[in-house]
């Protein structure tokens, strides 16, 4: 991509001096998602206003999400509090090149919820060491953000029963076996619904890429 820019005749003079960012960057650059912007501000500037925005956006969603899996309102709020405090304390670990803000927060919430339900610490993979590239790669961050948007659109396009199955698999403390008991569907049907839902999601995403 860079080579294309440099081959352009207009880019010629820029090679001799420092890069003139004002010229190379398109004016109408796609926007990073608001959640990513807030989270990066929390990470880099310890920005409490941005954290407050993040709280306003995610706390009610987290509460709804946690209560969907059968946790009571009071305990759900305790978990929301823990999750948001973890977001603040662990923000340094957030790397928008590797995860969307919502995916990162989902993972924190799920870990916390499971630790509480199971009363044991859930095994978590080693964190990757931060790469040597300190320079943020905006295009990669944007690609992740766009994927998140597309996922949300794709979720809306699912058949209601497919969507419900995926939600149950993700939201509930349910194995496929337990889902089949709860819904009265035989296990094979449950698995194929989930697979169909995921395949559909994947297809939607491919179409949009």
């Amino acid at each position: 991509m860079m080579e294309t820019v440099l081959e352009h005749p207009l880019a010629g003079p820029a090679q001799t001096g420092p890069p003139q960012t004002g010229r190379a960057v398109p004016v109408q650059a796609p926007q990073m998602s608001q959640a990513t912007v807030w989270l990066v501000a929390v990470r880099d500037q310890r920005d409490k206003d941005a954290f407050g925005d993040l709280f306003d956006y995610f706390a009610p969603r987290l509460k709804g999400f946690i209560m969907r899996s059968g946790t009571g309102a009071a305990q759900a709020e305790e978990i929301v509090q823990d999750v948001m405090l973890t977001v603040w304390r662990k923000a340094a670990m957030f790397d928008p090149h590797r995860a969307q803000a919502s995916a990162w927060i989902y993972q924190i919430a799920r870990n916390r919820q499971i630790d509480i339900i199971r009363k044991e610490s859930r095994p978590i993979p080693d964190e990757l060491a931060q790469g040597p590239e300190a320079e943020p790669d905006a295009s990669q961050i944007l690609a992740f953000d766009q994927e998140a948007e597309q996922l949300k659109t794709a979720l809306d396009l699912l058949q209601p029963d497919q969507k419900e199955m995926i939600e149950k698999a993700y939201l509930g403390d349910l194995t496929h076996q337990e889902i089949s008991v709860q819904t009265g569907l035989p296990l094979g049907t449950v698995k194929s619904r989930i697979r169909l839902g995921l395949n559909r999601l994947r297809r939607e995403l491919k179409g949009l890429r």
Binding site: K48, F51, G52, F55, D56, F58, A59, P60, R61, L62, K63, G64, F65, M67, R68, A73, E77, V80, Q81, M84, L85, R89, R98, A99, Q100, A101, S102, A103, W104, I105, Y106, Q107, R110, N111, I114, R118, E120, S121, R122, P123, I124, P125, D126, L128, E147, A148, L151, K152, L155, I166, A169, Y170, L171, D173, L174, T175, H176, K191, I194, L198
Partner: protein, 211 residues
């Protein structure tokens, strides 16, 4: 080190991402992901779906005081939970189970050793040490067995497994893994039921060895 060729199956990864995988298997999956960038990426994809669902979940308003409580706690000192980094061949999730210590090996005979990391109703997870050229006792499983290679390699009827590879054994798999020449083979093995050894350790002794 050779490339990882045996990965975590998709449904197991989905269950791990959703948090529904029993603890012993979750430890093997977390340890494998620590070694495998391909499966780390797959986990990221499942988390992305989780994140999209989270954003799409119907809001439920939180009580008014929650935000002010959280804001007030931001600067409060916290006792950080101990973080266990990988050490040598052992990924972080294994070091956490070992609580940062070296494995306490118990001899099973013929140079084979084990170190039990956890044993609960939902299954057991252990480290196995198998000298080069030595066979793991012939066994079958009551349930599902996951075996992740951390050092050396082993081969059995189904193929060769090197560092980072995971073998998934179900009830039907009767196999005799043999550690390949070279370093002793060290594996992380998780089951949801006691292993059934067909030879080597008499059945009567199994409770004694807790296998």
């Amino acid at each position: 080190m050779s490339a990882i060729t045996h990965h975590i199956p998709e449904d197991m990864m989905a269950a791990y991402a959703a948090g529904t995988l029993p603890h012993p298997y979750a430890m093997v999956v977390a340890a494998h992901i620590s070694l495998c960038s391909e499966c780390r990426a797959a986990l990221g994809a499942y988390h992305a779906v989780g994140g999209a669902l989270l954003e799409k979940t119907a809001n439920i308003a939180v009580t008014n005081s929650l935000k002010s409580n959280v804001m007030a706690m931001l600067e409060a000192p916290v006792q950080p939970k101990p973080v266990y980094d990988s050490q040598g061949i052992y990924p972080g999730p294994v070091m956490e189970a070992l609580q940062g210590r070296s494995p306490r090996w118990k001899t099973l005979g013929m140079g084979v050793k084990q170190s039990i990391l956890s044993e609960t109703d939902s299954g057991s997870v252990r480290l196995l040490y198998i000298p080069a050229g030595q066979a793991v006792p012939d066994h079958s499983h009551n349930g599902l067995e996951l075996t992740l290679v951390l050092q050396g390699s082993f081969s059995d009827e189904t193929g060769r497994f090197g560092v980072g590879d995971v073998e998934i054994g179900d009830e039907d798999l009767e196999h005799t893994p043999i550690a390949d020449a070279g370093d002793a083979c060290i594996c992380l093995a998780a089951t949801d039921a006691p292993l059934r050894f067909n030879a080597f350790v008499p059945r009567l002794l199994q409770p004694f060895f807790r296998i």
